[in-house]
């Protein structure tokens, strides 16, 4: 009897070697390719997904230990690509090559879950593990701040 895992709301059998990192289960077994391979050692953040809502590097976490957990990937972040961060990413024309951006968005979404109104230092600190070689950092920060500002207005 296989263990199961919830991916974007759908139950999936863990029918691979349980040591396989979640990244490769997603990419090669389920063929959900929005989550990217960048370094394989948790150094770059390209593979970031949510495990029960918390940003996690999928390239270093074995799928077996996630049995019963609920995983959200970039494909499942919102119904219609309309998460406030996704919208802010478009408004600010963030992507260049775009390869790291699913990880950036997932990491930022997790940050805002935990701290809806981060200041600039808190954004820097939370996003420090996500590399962008194209250098879109300025726009990423602006997009996150914009969403945080909107959330702050809603709260107040």
């Amino acid at each position: 009897m296989n263990k199961t895992i919830i991916i974007n709301g759908e139950k999936q059998n863990i029918d691979v070697d349980e040591d396989m990192p979640l990244l490769w289960f997603l990419r090669d077994r389920l063929e959900k390719t929005g989550t990217k391979y960048g370094c394989g050692t948790g150094l770059c953040g390209a593979c970031t997904v949510h495990v029960d809502g918390v940003a996690t590097r999928s390239c270093v976490i074995p799928v077996g230990v996630l049995a019963g957990k609920s995983i959200t990937t970039i494909e499942g972040l919102s119904e219609n690509g309309d998460h406030p961060l996704q919208k802010a990413w478009l408004e600010n024309n963030v992507p260049q090559c775009g390869y790291c951006q699913s990880g950036q968005i997932m990491n930022a979404a997790s940050l805002l879950n935990e701290n809806p109104t981060p200041n600039a230092e808190e954004i820097d600190s939370a996003m420090q593990g996500n590399i962008c070689r194209c250098g879109t950092y300025q726009r990423i920060k602006k997009a996150i701040s914009q969403v945080a500002d909107d959330l702050a207005r809603e709260v107040s």
């Binding site: 770059c44 024309n93 775009g98 699913s102 194209c134």
Partner: protein, 751 residues
Amino acid sequence: MSTENTAIESYATENNAIEKNATENTTIENVSRRNFFKTASIATGGLVIGVSLPMQSMAFGDEVKEFDFNPNAFIHIAENGDTLIYCGRCEMGQGISTALPGAVADELEADWSRVSVKQGDADEKYGHQATGGSASIRRMYIPMREAGAAAKEMLIAAAATKVWKIPADQCSAKNHFVINNNNGEKLSYGQLASLAATISVPEKPKLKEKSEYNYIGKALPRHDQAEVVVGKRMYGVDTKMPGLKYAAITHCPVLGGKLKSVDKSAALAMKGVVDVVVIPRFEVPFGSIGGVAVVADNTWTAQQALKKLIIKWDLGDNQSYDTKAYKAQLVKNVESPAEVVTERGDLKTAFSNAAQKLSATYTGGHLSHSPMEPNASVVYVEDDKCEVWAATQAPKAIQKVLGEYLKREPTDIIVHVTMAGGAFGRKFKCDYVHEAAVISQQVKAPVQLIWSREEDMRTGYYHSISAQHIEGSLDEKGNVTGWLHRVAFPPIGSLFKADTTGPSKNDVGAVDKYPFGLPNFRSEIGEAKAHTRIGWYRAVYAIFYGFSFSSFADELSYKAGKDPLTFLNQLYDANDNAEQKEQVKRSKDALALAAEKAAWHNRNKLPEGQGIGLAVHYSFRTYVAMAVRVEVSGDDIKVLQVDCVIDCGQVLNTDGAAAQMEGAVAMGMSLALSTEITFRNGAVVNSNFHDYPVMRTSDMPQVNVHFVDSGFEPTGLGEPGVAPFAPALANAVFAASGKRYRDLPFKPMTV
């Protein structure tokens, strides 16, 4: 050497790319003068326009054959008005697939929201697709606009002559409609598409005036960013198909080494492993250096099994390569007389009459491109077919290399160009695609080969390690009277010619033609044999030439007791070469604007520990000036703000242009401060982002991008922003702290 190869090689040095690409440039420039168009009805009944290369133009055949007419771009307007524009140049994040189609849409008077863009496969009909040298816009701007303008004229003619029966000049086009100027009646492009396909193609369509532009020179959103934010954009790593096998590879860590033996048994015993494939070195430019690959059901299993291979390498001739010792040797080579390349005036007399003299040596290390997407492709070799899906900058190079390897016609290799997750020059070389082909041929299945980050970093192509020595003389008024410039670096030419022992004379063209006024001048080249693969890296040699020229000018200004900006202007003003008048003016104008925006003249009021540095560099026919403001505290360097001024002639997409500059600052900062590839015992020591510390978000300064509207034709922006950053930073650090950095990176990590 074939034209393609010449083109590839010439991309090596931006200067040469301009000079040596003469053949190709002639073709393209001819296109811009007298290209012509042809229409064809296609299955959907819409209008298709192809831009045609005169050199490749064959007789106009029947309508079906016109697809074989080697057009280099397409406009396709469907009956519902949807407009599809193909981009033949490769997209890697530089924004070309938005900028060029945006220009087409402008001339077409299309509604941008109705336009979709597709990447063209490798095909002669798209013309030259090798995407490098920041050349896409320069080459394609006029032909693509003319394609749009011709289509618009045909749509207007269709409405005027076939529907309204009035002269075409009583009609106009706007926002996807043709309008009857007499009564305001409108017909949509969709309604007119089939009719327009029956109109003959205007020979010389009229292009819009600058004042009429809708999209050119404005901010356009990236056409594909909506796909990016939901994870749907497909990259080289993302191709899936039935029966796909996954491969992981390891290479000999030392260039030129050979496989002695491999024990495959433990790897083959692993569940899910399909095969182990030995890939011999393929002695053509961009062929594999040789390696061993494991093929499995998934990438992870392949990577795990790879670790179980017991491989013995014969390391070969380069096993003593050590970059620390090598750099020291390069310094020796440039600090003593070397081979003279160019001599102007009388340097000897200038030096002996000097009121003051200054000399400095600048060095830089190897760099790895390290795009976030490592090398990846899917290749399926069958007996009668070979199909490739690759993130690449050079689809035709893939056809050439695979054609040679498989002994098939290059045009028989089908290459689908995917989005590249960054490239920076790395994906110009298709060794990784060749390897996937070798594996696919052996296992008789489609194979996805993804290089691990470690392989990407350790067995790639590297930006040249370099040393430059400059000696300058000043007269009593602080004018520069003499300039000696010696360079040594293993050049990219070593990829194509194994016996290369140092930079060629062409490689120092950018030194000889630097637009400073240097009447008494000598350039020399020192020995520098390559011990690894040297490759184009974003901005290429402009990285170290920009660093040395702009740093040394700054150093000289202090020696002369002059304000650096005044001194730079003086250096440009001293240039009396009429051919460089434009370069002098545009360099100075960019510099002046950067200084103004950064409040250079108020720099003495900056807080303690802060300073501003200036640099301007002309490369790839574009001018970029930067004013960098830093705060220095001990060894800690914090970049606060960068004011970046671009003069690339007509800007196509201002938002994309600004993005390229922000990116250039980020890449410039990595290479200026921290990233260096170190070799020891012939092999790269770095392995991943922990010991190749590329810039992260907390280091990103505020980057403000400003444009000079110089009225010139557009030139590229992918690379030119990188060169001025490091020297502007070095000059800023000196202004702030009195410490002068002459070695890139300033603060290398010990690995």
